[in-house]
């Protein structure tokens, strides 16, 4: 298939960016979206134009490195990551617009690459269970009901991609945070720090410039791992409990 690509180009964080238009011919439907961009980049390199910078690493939908706004949708039209999107989801002659995540808390570094280090700083504020190496009890000493373990796993599959933030009109990271708070809150090991965790993570979230949640649900719709919206209710519940407990 032949495509027209409108792609955001920005030399660095300090410079202004703009959309550029490229034509790409002979795209196979078996290509992944990023392989399509690889082919474009080879073409640009041959023509003496600097290739377009975009992030990716595993290309299997698990590392969370990739992430593009494709025709205005985070990760494009399917429920998956950008790297797992394939060209069979597009058709011949189509025009595709490609932009970076847009959020105040994710500044653009270059072209389609953004800085998501704010997510790491949120985790630093309590997205863990404090247990030093070597001090753990025998694994079977604390059984965990299967339903809790399964649900903890489901929400722990968040890949930290940032699509939820990019999709949210408020630029909120509540889904990302809710997933972590719910994961650890479902496990007996996560109880001792539960109150402190939610309070500190939310404080960091606000400090980073992410917006508040107004229950729009665009985050869940964009999430490649289908993290459910109710993790945000859990987040709010935990926050209320923590405040009530004097945190």
């Amino acid at each position: 298939m032949n495509l027209t690509l409108k792609i955001w180009r920005q030399p660095d964080a300090a410079s202004a960016g703009a959309m550029h238009t490229y034509q790409l011919a002979d795209v196979s439907e078996d290509m992944s979206f990023l392989e399509m961009l690889d082919v474009l980049n080879e073409q640009l390199n041959d023509q003496g134009e600097e290739p377009i910078a975009f992030d990716s690493d595993c290309r299997e939908g698990i590392c969370g490195t990739c992430g593009l706004m494709i025709n205005g949708e985070a990760h494009g039209p399917e429920v998956t990551t950008t790297c797992q999107l394939h060209m069979r989801s597009f058709s011949d002659g189509e025009t595709i617009t490609i932009e970076p995540w847009r959020s105040d808390a994710f500044p653009v570094i270059k072209d389609l690459v953004v800085d998501r280090s704010a997510f790491d700083r949120i985790i630093q504020q309590g997205g863990y269970i404090s247990v030093n190496t070597g001090s753990a009890p025998e694994a079977h000493s604390v059984p965990v009901p299967k339903d809790d373990a399964d649900r903890a796993f489901n929400v722990a599959t968040c890949i930290s991609c940032g699509a939820c933030v990019a999709a949210c009109p408020n630029g909120s990271a509540s889904l990302f945070m809710g997933a972590k708070v719910t994961h650890l809150g479902l496990l007996p090991q996560g109880q001792p720090e539960r109150d402190e965790r939610v309070v500190n993570m939310v404080a960091q979230h606000d400090h980073e410039g992410f917006g508040g949640c107004t229950n729009i649900g665009a985050c869940t719709a964009a999430c490649p791992k289908e993290i459910p919206l109710d993790v945000i209710s859990q987040l709010n519940k935990d926050l209320r409990t923590a405040i009530r407990n004097g945190h």
Partner: protein, 675 residues
């Protein structure tokens, strides 16, 4: 060939009399002095690690914060070490090339992690895990290291559960296990098909906790481009800030490389796009020996290539082989038919036929080679790429009938979804198509029992070292090794080295530091000014083809020699004719790739030389010249029961080979048989 008496076999090779006729690599290397592991422990195998831990000197808690540790890599091996050493109170700096430490490629591991918990009461034990791992490695690993790995495996599970890793559980709330390729006990712990992700998130969270506590400083989007060696000791690294392009010097008392595997030398592999050998290779050029570089694991269950645009290959966890049945059509004429229309009697379940006792669960190398033979024989399935169908069926129809769709979905749901997304086919309806792909490298930097390389003060952990898997790795053992090294081994062994520190401060204008920094800047400058005709990727793809063709599933003397010539020619052309646009002062992904590919050329050549030297088939290394009459791998313990440790001898010299003899006292060497 059966080896009844192990001691004799190692003595035979200790005499070092390699029959001249068999040394295919003569002229490609210089023989060096034998290598001995000075830290090798002695005594009963089960007491060795306890003794070493006791003998390793302690560092006073008050001194720890005066000791600086650099850790390159935040995968399971790096993040676990950084967290643990941070908790102990050392001053740690860690580096990764991704934008967050949580994205290291350990995240992609699917199937599970082994541990000798024996929760199933099925006869598992530390000794059995040890035995299986040595046997799986085809008697080319070090027994003391492997025993220690098996020993600490149980602590890993305890630690991860305490961190909140949501392993799969049974209805009673206890942990579930499954059995994994090549073994007959259930000792693999898993978190659906995303075990690596969950383990890495656990280690990452422990790491971030230390960042918050101030003991660990994290440098994401920083790439190590050179090792700093002062007075024979590793004292730091030169790194490039990948966003600003700044070339930074980081000095320390000790450096740890946990930089992962180099499978991307094959261009197409299941590794991440950025996986590289640069950190390890730069250390190699500074004096760290590279061990068994040719030992590559080719994984049998990957999604086949669709065309030349292919940028990477995707693994389907081999846990799928527990329930899926592998087959090809008996008749070439059926290869392009809808598989559902091929009747039972026209299908060849070739693994079940050739290996009746292990069937679809034979080790990875056997399964991979068998698939290659079927396809070479014209019975492959799927699209034709370059004239051959490279794929075999992995069929779940029986499993779905036996267990029900629900059960299959619970076990493998995310893998099936991934397959459907990539291929556009529904594996609940149509059998999957799979083909082998490069997946893991057993080779890596040589380390002693303490995980220290031949450069004092340089430690190497995880996939980047060579020590535990011999010539082949068992499924679910790399995650175990990464976490064993990082949580439980390195923190003990490194203290013995650090007990002599803090070492004399060195300044940034020390000649060795200046030299390292200049070599980095001049390389960058070179790439940006060649202004040739071809992209970095085009060279990488061509190198990968050479490696896959001649140093892949089957290797021969003629093929390897040809590969070496081709690599040398291509490398020369690369330096003269590569085209890297953009500047050094911003994010520049072509520039990053150029540096990595440059190192892959040198590594690729060494892999071929190593493969050439080893005229035997062992584990993942299959030499066409060394097989039994019915085509099985044939090991030669008298000649080759050694570790090949290669020393860099300079840009214009051939490498030096040091041999470390493998001595087995706790286990008897046996020729593998899975029939």
């Amino acid at each position: 060939m059966d080896m009844p008496d192990t001691v004799t076999s190692t003595e035979a090779s200790a005499s070092g009399s390699l029959d001249g006729d068999y040394d295919d690599a003569a002229g490609y290397y210089t023989p060096g002095a034998p290598l001995v592991d000075a830290k090798a422990p002695s005594g009963p195998i089960a007491e060795r690690w306890q003794n070493r831990k006791f003998e390793a000197r302690l560092v006073n808690p008050a001194n720890r914060r005066k000791l600086d540790i650099i850790i390159v890599g935040t995968g399971l091996a790096g993040a676990s070490a950084a967290a643990t050493l941070g908790e102990a109170g050392y001053n740690v700096k860690t580096f990764c090339y991704q934008d967050s430490p949580r994205r290291a490629h350990s995240i992609a591991a699917q199937g599970g992690i082994n541990a000798a918990k024996n929760y199933k009461e099925d006869g598992d034990s530390v000794h059995r895990l040890f035995y299986d791992t040595v046997k799986g490695g085809d008697y080319r690993s070090r027994e003391s290291n492997v025993y220690r790995l098996a020993e600490v495996s149980t602590n890993i599970i305890d630690q991860c559960v305490a961190q909140g890793v949501p392993f799969a559980r049974e209805y009673g709330g206890l942990l579930d296990n499954r059995s994994f390729g090549g073994v007959q006990v259930s000792r693999t712990f898993y978190a659906r098909g995303q075990t690596g992700q969950q383990l890495l998130i656990g280690a990452y969270q422990a790491l971030e906790r230390q960042v918050s506590a101030g003991t660990v400083s994290m440098y994401a989007r920083h790439e190590m481009l050179e090792l700093v060696v002062v007075d024979g000791k590793a004292r730091g690294i030169i790194a490039r800030d990948m966003v600003t392009g700044e070339i930074q010097t980081h000095l320390a008392d000790v450096v740890v490389l946990a930089s992962g595997g180099y499978g991307n030398v094959f261009y197409l592999s299941t590794n991440a796009m950025g996986s590289n050998v640069t950190a390890a290779w730069r250390a190699h050029r500074k004096g760290a020996y590279m061990a068994n570089p040719c030992y590559t694991q080719i994984h049998p269950t990957c999604i086949p290539v669709t065309g030349s645009h292919q940028s990477k290959l995707t693994l389907m966890s081999e846990s799928l082989r527990n329930d899926g049945r592998i087959w090809v059509p008996k008749n070439q004429a059926d290869c392009d038919k809808d598989p559902r229309d091929i009747p039972e009697e026209d299908r060849d379940y070739y693994l079940e036929r050739i290996y009746p006792s292990f069937g679809n669960l034979v080790p990875r190398d056997i399964a991979s080679r068998a698939a290659k033979y079927q396809c070479d024989d014209g019975r492959g399935v799927g699209p034709e790429v370059d004239g051959t169908r490279r794929g075999v069926y992995l069929d779940f129809a029986d499993a779905i009938e036996r267990l029900g769709r629900q059960a299959v979905e619970t076990k493998y749901g995310n893998l099936f979804d991934m397959y459907a997304r990539i291929t556009g086919e529904d594996p609940y309806q149509v059998p999957m198509r799979i083909y082998p792909a490069v997946h893991y490298v057993m080779g890596g930097l040589w380390v002693d029992y303490d995980l220290q390389s031949t450069i004092p003060g340089l430690f190497v952990t995880g996939e980047a070292n060579f020590s535990d898997h011999g010539a082949n790795r068992l499924g679910a053992s790399a995650l175990m090794q990464g976490l064993a090294d990082g949580y439980f081994v390195l923190p003990h062994t490194i203290r013995d080295y650090l007990a002599d520190g803090p070492f004399e401060r060195i300044s940034e204008d020390h000649p060795a530091v200046v030299e390292a920094r200049e070599s980095v800047t001049s390389r960058i400058e070179h790439f940006l000014t060649v202004n040739g005709e071809r992209s970095v990727d085009s060279y990488h793809r061509e190198l990968g083809n050479i490696m896959w063709e001649y140093c892949g599933m089957e290797r021969t003397e003629t093929g390897l020699k040809k590969a070496i010539d081709l690599i040398r020619g291509l490398k020369e052309d690369f330096y003269r004719n590569v085209k890297v646009l953009g500047s050094a002062e911003t994010l520049n992904q072509s520039l990053e790739k150029a540096g990595r590919v440059a190192d892959f050329f040198e590594l690729g050549e060494l892999m071929c030389i190593d493969a050439l030297n080893r005229r035997e088939s062992c584990g993942g290394h299959f030499r066409g010249e060394s097989q039994t009459e019915d085509g099985e791998a044939l090991r030669h313990d008298e000649e080759y029961a050694y570790v090949s440790a290669w020393e860099w001898a300079g840009e214009d010299s051939i490498p030096i080979l040091h041999k470390e003899d493998l001595v087995y006292t706790a286990i008897e060497m046996k020729q593998r048989s899975y029939k």
